[in-house]
């Protein structure tokens, strides 16, 4: 996992649109404590913006009534939250034990050398973004790559090449 501590300030105040505002109020009733809303609130933000700007973290903390540091912790702990704008196609490569042993590094090296895409970055044309993530729970078919939320098992460089060729 890369260092995810760098947040991006957009310089604009964040708030939910009417739909997500209503959804927040609906969800908050489900939990015994308001702190439980941290993860759903981050999801709502990502749905709305595509990623999570620093202002949104402060907004969520203040709206829930918890510490900004606590929302910051959750947002950086889970790689599913994007802390900067992503490419049109978001690639996650598992870097935990089984995938590492079964050759995830070759795939990461290929992307770095051939496309110039490093973990935590977006390609220059905005087509791809890459993140190394912790265990995706498909160790039996390692290495595993997730593209736009879809799992691709038993991956290697050749399979990745044909996969990427089919993406816009």
């Amino acid at each position: 996992m890369s260092d995810r501590s760098q947040l991006i300030f957009t310089g604009k105040p964040f708030q939910y649109d009417a739909e997500r505002d209503a959804e927040f109020e609906r969800l908050v009733k489900r939990y015994p404590t308001r702190e439980s809303m941290i993860l759903p609130a981050l999801w709502l933000t990502q749905e709305q913006e595509g990623w999570i700007p620093a202002e949104a973290i402060a907004y969520i903390a203040d709206r829930i009534g918890t510490f900004a540091s606590q929302v910051y912790e959750a947002a950086t702990f889970y790689t599913m939250y994007h802390l900067h704008p992503m490419g049109r196609n978001h690639i996650c490569i598992c870097r935990t034990l089984s995938c590492w042993l079964r050759g995830k590094q070759e795939i990461v090296d290929y992307l770095r050398d051939e496309i110039g895409l490093k973990p935590g970055q977006v390609s220059e044309d905005g087509k791809f973004s890459l993140e190394e993530v912790e265990c995706l729970g498909h160790c039996g078919s390692a290495p595993v790559v997730q593209v736009n939320g879809e799992f691709h098992e038993n991956m290697d460089v050749d399979k990745l090449k044909s996969l990427l060729a089919g993406l816009k």
Binding site: M1, S2, D3, R4, S5, L7, F9, A54, I57, A58, A61, T66, F67, A68, S69, Q70, V71, Y72, E73, T76, F77, E134
Partner: protein
């Protein structure tokens, strides 16, 4: 006294207090269980895994001692090969990305990583890959500097800001080897107890901007003291050192545990108040604005007091009980009036319901116990009648806006006995330097009526005389230690009833009825 239970540690029977966890209970009988994250004020977090021990009763082979309460007959293993291996392994993991910059680290000498390395690890590194680099010398605000690479992620600082100050500025972000303590951008440490994270940090990750690079820990002499910053009377360590060719200086105050008073912590203002002990002091005696030998100043002061008809003694609410008694005996001897007026010490609205109090003096309860009047009306009336004012470190009236008081000060004969150079000492007819609270021993009573004793910590190259000996030189009769103790016992029945003449380490709680027993 809590109930005792018997348990076995490495086969040896020991008797410990019930209701505690293994770490706390065994510490009392001198058995150390290494730990990073557990702290009695913050509870058991169980994240560091350093305190894993074996219990022979069929439960899982290893349990964290911080989460295991003592129980009768418990068989605890601390020295099996398995436990030793676990301790070595945890240490190895802690040290993988640790910069091991002990020679330039402030914590060296009082660092848990160092101590535990020597006691439980002692192996060479096996690391052959570059270390993870993180943030260095990050200014977290409130005088706290953070080094993310030295951090062992015990989360004590994080839990302190969430549980104790409830300000929650700190968090641990990322995960795995990239995890680090940090702030949310733009929300720095902003509470009045922030520097406690420096003490809480078991390693050198949190350091104090004020103390950094000033002294090596092993050169500091650690004396027990009482903070005089407010009426809470927090227990502190006074860490001081006399460097070669220099004077004995205080380098920091640290909190000292006292469950009856301050618990484990002190406020930042009190912690920083050590600067006032080192700086701005009245260094030499003066007669009519001319430097003078101390003896001569004392003799002149005595003559002037004896030649006066109406002397007003003004005593500070920061004086110790012993000093107040000595000064009161001087008043009796000379037929002088004595006042403890010091409303300037009170900053209404500053108290926070935790440690910080409105009253910025250490012993106002002492003034009350000795029935020394503290009202403004009495002070003003006495001042108008007086021809000589002897001020024992209490010149808060100096900025009194009342024109009558201001006018009177111009014509009055004044004697300032002062620890510090102040506007009043500069103006006084005679100025006599006095020892401050780190330089004498004495007793004070805090706002809850807890009587506490503190010893002498600092010995200056040229010690200023103690207030009691100054009072004696001015003609006080009650100045010998035995006589003062006797007088204190007459005021405080609880002290008289105590077996020892020593005030207990954690103080003596006086009841209201005791305060009412006062002998005038």
């Amino acid at each position: 006294m809590a109930e005792m239970v018997k348990l076995f540690v490495n086969g040896q029977e020991v008797e410990v207090e019930s209701g505690k966890n293994l770490i706390d209970a065994l510490e009392v009988v001198g058995i150390e269980i290494p730990h990073f994250c557990y702290h009695p004020a913050l509870g058991a977090d169980g994240n560091c895994r350093m305190c894993l021990v074996g219990i022979e009763d069929g439960r899982p082979p290893l349990v964290p001692a911080c989460k295991t309460p003592v129980a009768e007959g418990l068989k605890v293993q601390l020295d099996t090969d398995k436990i030793k291996k676990i301790q070595r392994d945890v240490m190895e993991l802690e040290l993988i990305n640790h910069p091991t910059d002990c020679p330039v680290c402030d914590q060296a000498g009082e660092c848990k990583l160092q101590d535990y390395y020597m006691s439980y690890d002692h192996q060479a590194t096996r690391m052959r890959v570059p270390q993870v680099l993180k943030g260095k010398k990050l200014d977290f605000g409130c005088g706290v500097i953070h080094d993310q690479e030295r951090c062992v992620l015990c989360a004590r600082c994080v839990r302190f800001t969430r549980q104790i100050t409830k300000t929650g500025e700190l968090g641990i972000i990322n995960r795995s080897d990239e995890a680090r303590v940090t702030l949310f951008p733009g929300r720095p440490l902003n509470n009045r107890y922030a520097l406690n994270v420096v003490d809480l940090c078991p390693v050198g990750a949190m350091t104090s901007k004020d103390f950094r690079f000033k002294q090596r820990a092993w050169f500091l002499k650690r004396n027990k003291g009482i903070c005089h910053g407010c009426s809470m009377g927090c227990n502190i360590f006074i860490d001081h050192n006399r460097e070669k060719y220099k004077d004995d200086l205080i380098y920091r105050f640290r909190p000292r545990f006292n469950p009856e008073v301050n618990g484990y912590f002190i406020c930042d203002k009190g912690r920083m108040s050590y600067h006032q002990e080192n700086e701005g002091r009245l260094k030499s005696a003066r007669i009519d604005h001319e430097d003078s030998p101390l003896v001569q100043a004392l003799q002149t002061a005595r003559r002037r007091i004896e030649a006066s008809d109406k002397v007003l003694l003004l005593v500070s609410p920061n004086c110790s009980l012993e000093q107040m008694l000595a000064i009161r005996s001087l008043a009796t001897e000379k037929g002088a009036t004595i006042s403890g007026y010091s409303d300037g010490c009170i900053q209404t609205g500053d108290a926070d319901g935790y440690l910080i109090q409105d009253d910025k003096s250490a012993n106002r309860a002492g003034l009350e116990l000795l029935q020394i009047d503290t009202t403004y009306d009495f002070f003003k009336e006495s001042l108008q009648r007086a021809d000589t004012l002897v001020c024992f470190n209490n010149d808060l009236f100096f900025t009194d806006p009342d024109p009558v008081v201001a006018e009177k000060l111009k014509v009055l004969q004044t004697i300032a006995i002062s620890t510090h150079e102040t506007p009043f000492s500069r103006q006084a007819g005679i100025a006599i330097p006095a020892a401050s609270y780190s330089e004498y021993a004495g007793s004070v009573i805090n706002k809850d009526g807890v009587l506490q004793y503190f010893g002498r910590a600092v010995e200056k190259n040229v010690p200023a005389p103690e207030m009691i000996s100054i009072a004696r030189d001015l003609g006080a009769t009650l100045t010998e230690p035995e006589a003062l103790l006797h007088a204190m016992k007459r005021c405080i029945p609880a002290l008289a009833a105590a077996e020892s003449d020593q005030i207990p380490e954690r103080g003596l709680k006086l009841t209201l009825s005791e305060a009412a027993h006062v002998t005038a």
